[in-house]
Subunit: 229 residues, 2 copies
DNA sequence: TCAAAAGTGTTCTTGATACACCCATGC
DNA sequence: GCATGGGTGTATCAAGAACACTTTTGA
């Protein structure tokens, strides 16, 4: 059933930059394209926006369909509207970025998409369309936002050690942080709940486990508190 | 000449939140709608994106056509993609915000649009569509961004006094700032060039005029400098 | 007993805040 | 000469940065 309009219309898509964190490395989830154009090339998960869903819903649906990921942190990033970004026709894409707890999700997702794979952000393959631009924009946003919003926790398991948290920040910000100062600062905010358990991993002293206290954060935020690292 | 597509498509528009600053007041430029829906209501300037222009270009074109404003600071804000934001049909809108030097532009713009008018942000009329949401988002963005990027200068004439600059920040941030501390901080960045002229307005001591040194800022930025107020 | 990561305080420096008076001008 | 906004310096306090050793565990 064809649809006709008085004026020509751009197609509208969503694309998702999915970040994960694993073993001190920041990673991105890419999908190998099975169809032209850019067949065989790696690309961001995404697809067309349907009329009966919001743009946000489209992003969640495509993420779920192409990578199996659900209930993840997802936020709109930027809209890419260059004329020739898709060689076939005019396509405007609303980009999102997602943060997933990599340890709690299967390595490549329960996906019906042919091929999904995590890549270290420092070792990315060539990407289809303008997806390299989108990814760079997402990285800049993540680097900026992680410093003044407690979104880093979205990349860690619910229970984590202070060292894991520090390594996450070091990976995202590409900087070395002082262990004592980092702990002092993050603990002084009172947003980390120490758990009774300890992590026992390897031939070392076991580390205290914490979880992020989201309720306390939203209560503090209302009173004007600002997370800042 | 009708255009036919296999799947139905949303229409794509741009909307612009235009900020100005005048006499210690932050203002927004609105347009009175001449057509249904929301006929007679105030709305943000904006319109449909054409296939032969980028989304950014569409924003600039609509701004020029509806308000007469050209060569202003313009930055993408957010894309609004709720299903029923336009009662006629599915319309997704990429919102922008603009900062204009109000003193250097005519009060209501050399506009072909019937009716354009500046409103104080504290005294806004009811707005068409979801434009109140868009405007609120733009205000939040402006409040956030003005603190860590030197965009406030886009709202002032090229030559300005320190008091004018301070009043601008006080209006945007809705806070009172200490005069001495403000001057110390802003001058210590070395981004304001004192001019030889002085402002002579009223029965007071004339104030030193400055201009923002954009070249110096971009040079410093490359070396890792961060503007922050 | 060794390797490997966990944990812990103090000093110094820097930047933020608070605060009050004289200056130049037009009327 | 007075009203109005322009312009200036210091003392205090809080937060950030730099820095090294002991503890606990498994192998």
């Amino acid at each position: 059933m064809p649809h006709t309009y008085e004026y020509p219309r751009a197609a509208l898509t969503v694309d998702c930059v999915v970040f994960g964190f694993d073993e001190a490395e920041l990673k991105v989830l890419l999908i190998r394209r099975g169809l032209a154009p850019f067949k065989g090339k790696w690309a961001l998960p995404g697809g067309f926006v349907r009329l009966e869903e919001t743009v946000d819903e489209a992003a969640r649906r495509e993420l779920s369909e192409e990578t199996g990921l659900k209930d993840v942190f997802l936020e709109q990033l930027y809209t890419f509207g260059a004329i020739d970004r898709d060689p076939r026709e005019r396509v405007v894409s609303v980009a999102y970025y997602a943060l997933v707890k990599l340890a709690e999700h299967p390595a490549t997702g329960a996906s019906d998409a042919s091929d999904a794979q995590w890549f270290t952000v420092a070792e990315l393959p060539a990407l289809a369309f303008d997806h390299a631009d989108i990814l760079r924009t997402a990285l800049e946003r993540l680097r900026g936002k992680v410093r003044y919003e407690p979104i880093g926790f979205e990349l860690l398991p619910q229970k984590f050690t202070l060292s894991e948290l520090q390594h996450l920040y070091e990976a995202v910000l590409q900087a070395n942080l002082d262990k004592r100062n980092f702990r002092k600062k993050i603990l002084s905010m009172g947003l980390l709940l120490p758990l009774k358990e300890q992590a026992r991993t390897g031939a070392h002293r076991p580390a205290q486990l914490f979880r992020f206290d989201a309720k306390k954060y939203s209560a503090l935020k209302k009173r004007g508190f600002n997370f800042e690292l």
